[in-house]
Structures are given as structure tokens and as C-alpha cells.
Symmetry: C2
Subunit: 354 residues, 2 copies
């Protein structure tokens, strides 16, 4: 059966009405909404066709129609109008994004909160590393005789520190030497290589010095592992409860559990197609069971040269795709611009040690 122009208009009218009201749409309502000058009976025939084509569903024999997942898919791919952000909206986003650059984790977290607030949906955000991250340099700062701060900087310019306590006393020159060893033997390596280098070192160095190197390298491994682990932040999960599709707790709970990241097992298995910078997953297109009646709209943005972030909006399949995609893409662009502005330095540059 052919999808005529009129069918498309009807489908679109149904979807947009359903997005707005969450109520099944009847033929009479469509007759008015679609702006077609035909009677409800005609619409009924067309709607029956659309149902046959799998684009609509009827919850019960005598209810109106609701869009199916493939109906939404068609809508998103072909029918949807570009939603234009109002000045107010862009202004609000800009203001909200005027955050000071702090540690990357916090920025990501804040960004999620902001987006959740302006989109009224839950938001998850995560970062991932394009290539392997390595340590670019180590700095050791003396605190007391038996404690120093280890500062580790990765080639992605993430800096982390930790206070390391040691049993024995330590002099400033010893610390210098340690630093030299670390910077010459434990930079630019993958995690495995670092572990190997550590093993090798154990055999031909004094136990005391080795112990301290081990402590620092273990911290560095933690940092690298942490960066690889793709920490996921979520914000605004209670927005879920504002939508009628989640008024039944049975629906809401597994999703909220998953979003709030409480089962370590059930992570968000989000496949992101790297070829485009905006992805939409509608209902059953999600692999994760908890997301069967849920849609995810996500966008990626660059953080420096070697990292990328993904930020996504989660909502019922009935979510307002036009608005969400518009806001999300503006948001992701802003983030890319923000991170590109050089607040976070580029990953290149010589190893410039003290």
C-alpha cells in the first residue's frame, strides 16, 4: 500500500496530538486537526490503512489510535518539522551553561542537570575516550616527612591528585628522584604496559623505593581505569514521574533503577552510532529491556582531541522529538564550542617537566 501525502498528514496529526495529550486520537479529532477538508469517515478509512501498515496501533477495539514505534520512526525521519528555538530558550541555555570550568566530572554532571531542567526529561551524560589514554606526566609534592601528593596528568589533560602516605620518612631529593623515574619510565604507556614495567622494576630496585613507585603507579592506573570506565551521570530522573506513561510504578521502577545506576550490572547499554552526531532510539529499538517503552535522544560532542561526551534525553516514546532534538543539538553544539574554546588545553604539546 502506498503512503500518500494525505496519509502522511493524518499520521503526523495523530502523532502530534498524541505527543501533546497522551490520549488515543479518534477519527473525528483528526478530521479537525489535520486541516484536511474531509469527513471523519474518510479519515477512518485512512486510519485503518495506516494501522494495516503498522504505523498506528489501537489499544482497544473502540479507542482511538496511537502511533506505533515505526510510526514514530517515520515521523522522526521524514515528517517532523524543525523546531526553532525561541530567543528565550537559547538565552536560557546560554545562561545556564555559563559554568566555570572545573574538574571534567563536575562539568559533565552540571551539564546534565542543566539540560534536564530545560528539557523537562531525565538526562544521562557520559564521556568516553577515543583512543587509549596514557599518563603524560607525574608531579610529586612533599607535604610532610611521610606524606606527599601525587599529581597525575593524562595526555587528555585530565589532572587528578591523591595524598600518599608512606611508612618511612622521605627527603626532598628522594622525592625528586622518584619523580624522575616515574616520568621517564611510566609515561605514555598503556595500562598493561605500565603493569609490566612495574613488575620488571621490582626485580632491580630497592624495596623502599619500589614501594613508593608502586603506590604512585597504582594511583595512575586507577585514574586511567576511571577514565576508561565511562562514568555515567544522570540528572532529573524524577521528571519521568511527570508523564502519564510512568504513573504505574511497575513501568517507572526498572527504568529509574537503571537510570540511577543502582544495579552495577545493568548499565545503560547505549549504542551510539558515531557517524552522525545525533541518535534517536525509539521504544523497542533499545536493546535494554527496561527501555522498551522509552525513547532516547542523544548527541555527542567533543572534549579536547581525544575524548568525546555523549549526552542524552530519556522519555516516553511519546516524547516531543522536535523540541528535544532542537534543544539537544543546540546544547551539544554549545558544549563542543565550550570545550573547544581552550578552557581545557589540547592534548598535544611536549612533556614539559619541572
Amino acid at each position: 500500500m502506498e503512503l500518500t501525502e494525505r496519509k502522511k498528514r493524518i499520521l503526523r496529526a495523530i502523532i502530534e496530538s498524541y505527543i501533546a495529550t497522551a490520549e488515543p486520537v479518534g477519527s473525528k479529532a483528526v478530521a479537525q486537526l489535520a486541516g484536511l477538508d474531509v469527513s471523519s469517515a474518510t479519515i477512518r478509512n485512512e486510519m485503518a490503512d495506516l494501522t494495516d501498515m503498522g504505523l498506528l496501533e489501537q489499544p482497544h477495539t473502540s479507542a482511538g489510535r496511537i502511533p506505533s514505534a515505526s510510526g514514530y520512526r517515520l515521523y522522526v525521519n521524514e515528517l517532523m518539522d524543525e523546531h526553532q528555538l525561541t530567543m528565550q530558550e537559547t538565552q536560557r541555555i546560554n545562561e545556564a551553561l555559563e559554568m566555570r570550568m572545573e574538574e571534567l566530572d563536575r562539568v559533565i554532571d552540571r551539564a546534565g542537570k542543566v539540560l534536564s531542567k530545560i528539557s523537562d526529561y531525565p538526562v544521562f551524560s557520559m564521556t568516553s575516550v577515543k583512543d587509549i589514554v596514557t599518563v603524560r606526566r607525574y608531579d610529586l609534592l612533599m607535604v610532610e616527612e611521610n606524606a606527599f601528593i601525587a599529581v597525575v596528568m593524562t595526555d587528555t589533560s585530565v589532572v587528578r591528585n591523591k595524598i600518599i602516605r608512606i611508612p618511612d620518612e622521605l627527603s626532598e631529593p628522594q622525592l625528586q628522584m622518584l619523580s624522575t623515574i616515574l616520568n621517564s619510565s611510566f609515561t605514555g604507556l598503556s595500562m598493561d604496559q605500565m603493569r609490566q614495567a612495574l613488575e620488571k622494576m621490582e626485580t632491580h630496585s630497592t624495596p623502599g623505593a619500589f614501594r613508593m613507585i608502586q603506590l604512585v603507579v597504582e594511583f595512575a592506573l586507577e585514574v586511567l581505569g576511571d577514565l576508561r570506565r565511562q562514568t555515567i551521570h544522570t540528572a532529573g530522573i524524577t521528571h519521568l514521574l511527570e508523564h502519564p506513561e510512568y504513573k504505574s510504578l511497575d513501568k517507572a521502577k526498572p527504568l529509574m533503577r537503571c537510570l540511577s545506576n543502582e544495579d552495577d550490572a545493568a548499565r545503560l547499554p547505549i549504542p551510539f552510532d558515531g557517524n552522525q552526531n545525533m541518535n534517536i532510539l525509539i521504544g523497542p529499538e533499545n536493546v535494554n529491556e527496561a527501555f522498551r517503552d522509552t525513547s532516547v535522544v542523544m548527541a555527542s560532542y567533543d572534549i579536547g582531541d581525544n575524548m568525546r561526551g555523549v549526552i542524552g534525553v530519556v522519555g516516553p516514546t511519546r516524547m516531543d522529538y522536535a523540541k528535544v532534538t532542537a534543544r539537544l543539538s543546540y546544547f551539544a553544539d554549545s558544549l563542543t564550542r565550550m570545550f573547544g574554546k581552550g578552557e581545557l588545553p589540547p592534548a598535544s604539546g611536549p612533556d614539559d617537566l619541572e
Copy 2:
């Protein structure tokens, strides 16, 4: 009216049954549960008395009784048995707490998650500073000609860092000098004092040097502000949904909103009585409107010398106080021990600069 021993036993039986089942308890059930060798009619008389005394309530004329807030209060204060943790439970807590010491924020966050998991209730955790925090020392690490890392360490031994980019090039000796200035003029000061010192410095120093000092001091102010801000973490809020009292979304939503910290306005206004290290707030004892039907059990623990953490469990008034208090106090003790163990160095000690 006097609260006889038998009345207490009856009250206790009712509360413990209600805690277990969330169903109003009838006289017949109590006759069995309380282990008193009297008939249900006698129990009825006693229950009528307890209701008059405000310790029980009846939802409807012909339902059983449920405990009132003051009933719970009496139970918590006098009637409750010390719940003994099983070996399994302590072991589970110990294992879960075997976390590596990272940044304080992360540790607090993890601790909340762990406690939430073992208690099956939502948990919030926050830190607060006993006195004013000051910067103990600054370290500046060269990265490139026009970027350096500022490492700020507070007298509470929190270490934070930030990459600072500057327009002009900078030499190693210049950086050294900067560091000396910072460490001599901007340590041990309150935030206001730091701002004043910065103003004073502006008048009698070259603009270029001042600009850089300003950037570092501003970062330090951020850090101090951050520490004062009492970041609150929450974990396991979806556990709320497991309890029948929150099956109605109207009940659950405001509470979840508050817990997930989404309204910046409505923080958790938790009054903690510092004189004892375990606090229980039952239902209407909570000032916050969203917590009227909710109880909070919280404990405090020490972090180093100048900080304390508060970690609390949130649940329905019907929550299992005996179990929760037992687990929570063990947990808080473990945390105190953990932080005391010197993984995080004490706040004292001379300013030991490089």
C-alpha cells in the same frame, strides 16, 4: 493514664507487626503476637487506652490500629531491642567499605551507595566543616609556556587542582616566584580575608603578575566555597518505590524531588543535634513539608580534625528502626575508623613547602 508494662508490650507488638506488614493490626492478631495470655477483648480495651493516649491511630473506625508518630517515638526511645548485626551483615559492610581512598567527594558518594544497598532505603550523605577552612598551601606546576596546573591544599587536607591557561608566556622562575607570593600572602586566610588581600595586592604589583595571582586565588576561593557548600549526595532513591506508602506517586514525587536535589531551592534542611551521634526524626518531627510521612535516621562521623560527615537513611515512618539504627551506627563507626586510620592525613602539621 499510666503506661503499664502490658500496654508497652501491646504497643510494641503492634509496631513491630506494622513495621513488618504495613497493615493495620487488629486486636486478635495482637493477642497472638504479644505473647500475653489474654483474650482479644482485653487487648481491645488496652488498645482503646493506647489510642486515647495518642500512641496509636485508627485509619478508619473498623480497621486495625497503626502506630502514631509519638508511638514510634516511644518505641524508639524505650521499647526497641538492640538489633544485633549478624556476622554476614558486618562482613558485607566491611567488604563493601573496602574502598580505595580517592577524592573525598567520591568516597562520600560511594559510602552512600553502599549503605543504601545494605539498608534497602534511600540514603543521603553530606559533609560539613566544623570551622572555617583555609588554604594551607599552593603548588604551581608548569605544563606549557602558557599553561600551568594550580594545586591547592586546604588545612583539612583536601587537594584540588585546575589547569590555568594564561595569555602570556611564563618562565619557570616566574612561576616559582608566583608560588612564593601565594604561599606567603594567601594561606591561612578566610575567604573574605583572601578577597581583601587580593584587592590590596592589585594596587602595588604589575598587572601581569597580578592577573595570574588572581586566577589562582579565584580558584582557591572556588574550592573553599565548594567545601563550605555542603555538597549532598543521595543514593538509592528508587528504594522508596518499594514501600507501599509511596505507591501513590503524589506521595513519592515531592520526596524524590527533594532527595534527588533537583530543586536548588528545597535543600534537605536537616537539623543535626551535634551532642549525640545518632539522630532520629519521625514523621512530623521533620520540618520539611515533603518529609511529613517520612522518617530520617542519621549518624555523624569524623573526617580528619576539622570535618564531619553526616549520613542518613530515609524511609517511611514505618521503617525498621532497630535494623536501620544498628546498621547505620556500625557503618558510621567504620567510617570514623576509616578516616581516622590516617588514609587522609590529619589537618595539623607545619606548612611544609617545597
